[in-house]
Symmetry: C2
């Protein structure tokens, strides 16, 4: 077989290692290179049966991706990037939607669903970091969006505290003081929401100010309708904010919708900042200021972590805490255009 | 094994047939019932190894879903519904993104990717219906969004001609005459776009009117940026419409964005109607009038077609043409609120 790999490599004009990577999925290969290698494999009639090879190696070639829901623009976009990056490793992605159900998250983490995946990427929603990392697992797990360094599994996430602090500081520097925080979820163990709230409070602390606790408005989930409901609740309670930092763009867009309905001018009467940089926000009226985590990097780093655990399980690198860069994208929802 | 199924059925308070359906995935089972049966299976220690059972039956328990991209809100939402409905049949969904690449569509239809799926649901983008249905296939295929009755595979789609005609008639009845059509794609074989254009023209014909061909504005893909570009092109060419029928909500939202930028009032200066009923449009400013296909039904009917082909291959029912209901949802983007 190794001589055939050499033939394929020569025809494709790449190293045998690259051919091997394409066939085994053990490393990412650029799409163009991968197509060239595949064409050479096809031309020489070398058709690796990935399923059979994996089976011999005790692997299925499937990896699991567990997210709250595909319907959410953020997770839909992220899932798309992960599926695409996985293809470059000859991996097939099986997507599970947990809908924030703790039982569903436990079942997936335990591997109790009877599915044969070689690894799992999970964005936990309902379970706290202790339970997530503490559960017994049969396959390597990579966590998205959790940052507490429990050291039991690889984690890939933006620095949520810092990012939320920057978003809030941006509003403070524009002179806003009554900045609502849309998204704290005291009833859940949701770690991401906790961190963004911490960043929001930290920005006030650093500015020597104290936020009005009445402006911390909890939501049930992170959709537009929750943002709309939270904004209406604030206004109905007479706790009118002069700015809103929403923990997701969807929440921000729902709240923005209510501001328009109530005849408030944006950003003059109330400014908005969201989180996630979904495409939707770029085309909103006015376009939405947001924190943009590097989603492409989230996808690539998560898959790299998983590949290292799957293909080099014996190397026993301690669990990694991969911090993904982010940037604040300032648009018209938080800056007066005139 | 049948006595054990009886025990499980008794404990769960359902028929053995229902237990069998849960275990085999041969029919949809309500989530609540499924959970009850699963609890009974667990309590009695009956853990069907779905993977092993499928393997014996020559099946993998995996079905493929091939869509242009998860990133699109419409396909993200639809994929979410399909994944959820598939879970109720104990099926695992493998999602492929074709990104409108004809080669990717051909490879998936040919089954040449070496993957082991029991069936494939595909929303073709680049390939015309002749090629889609004419390609050799090793597994049952269900087409989404294609309607031409070639009779070679099951199809599940809304009546795009009728729906587009209704959307255009809605604008004509409000007095609009210069109605732009955003989305015709003469360079592709895209059947859905062709049908929506046909419905647009048909509405004019029925009203005894002739649309201005300069108002048919092609786009490259169906995203917000394409809609924005098309709207800008129309306005820059001096071909100002008094209404826009966009072939997707994303196109409409991009065009709406440009209308705002150019200082046009919506709907007074220009009205907008989209297609798909994505959540985004409900929260747009103003909220977007749209054609809403019943996405839940698309998911359920597509899976039912696939199940019938997979579990009753010998019954040889001729290919089905499943028409999904739709409705026009009128919102403020096409009706003056005062």
């Amino acid at each position: 077989m190794s001589s055939r790999l050499k033939d394929v490599a020569a025809l494709a004009g790449v190293s045998t290692r690259t051919v091997s990577n394409v066939v085994s999925g053990s490393a990412a290969v650029a799409e163009e290179t991968r197509a060239r290698v595949q064409a050479a494999l096809d031309e020489l009639g070398y058709r690796p049966n990935v399923a059979a090879r994996n089976l011999r190696a005790g692997r299925t070639g499937l990896i699991g991706l567990a997210i709250p829901e595909l319907h959410s623009p953020y997770f839909g976009e992220l899932a798309g990037l992960i599926v695409r990056a996985a293809q470059q490793r000859a991996w097939t992605v099986v997507i599970d939607q947990t809908f924030g159900d703790p039982e569903a998250e436990r079942r997936l983490l335990d591997g109790g669903d009877g599915r044969l995946v070689d690894g799992l990427i999970i964005s936990p929603w309902a379970l706290g970091p202790e339970e997530v990392t503490g559960r017994s697992r049969n396959v390597p797990v990579v966590l998205l969006g959790e940052r507490r360094p429990h050291g039991l599994a690889d984690r890939v996430a933006a620095d949520n505290v810092l990012a939320a602090e920057e978003a809030t500081t941006h509003l403070l520097e524009a002179g806003h003081r009554r900045i609502a925080a849309l998204g704290p979820q005291p009833h859940l163990h949701n770690e991401t929401a906790r961190q963004r709230l911490e960043g929001y409070r930290e920005a006030f602390r650093r500015a020597g100010l104290t936020p009005d606790p009445a402006l911390e408005q909890p939501v049930r989930t992170l959709h537009r309708e929750d943002g709309a409901r939270a904004m209406a609740a604030l206004l109905d309670a007479g706790a009118r904010p002069d700015a809103v930092f929403a923990f997701t763009d969807e929440l921000a867009l729902g709240a923005l919708h209510v501001a328009h309905e109530r005849g408030l001018r944006v950003p003059d009467d109330v400014a908005f900042v969201g989180f996630d940089d979904i495409e939707d926000g770029r085309y909103a009226n006015p376009p939405l200021t947001t924190v943009a985590p590097d989603k492409q990097q989230i996808a690539e780093r998560a898959l790299q972590c998983l590949a290292d655990r799957i293909y080099s399980p014996a190397s026993a690198v301690p669990p990694l805490d991969v911090v993904i860069p982010h940037r604040l994208v300032v648009r018209a929802s938080s800056t007066r255009t005139s």
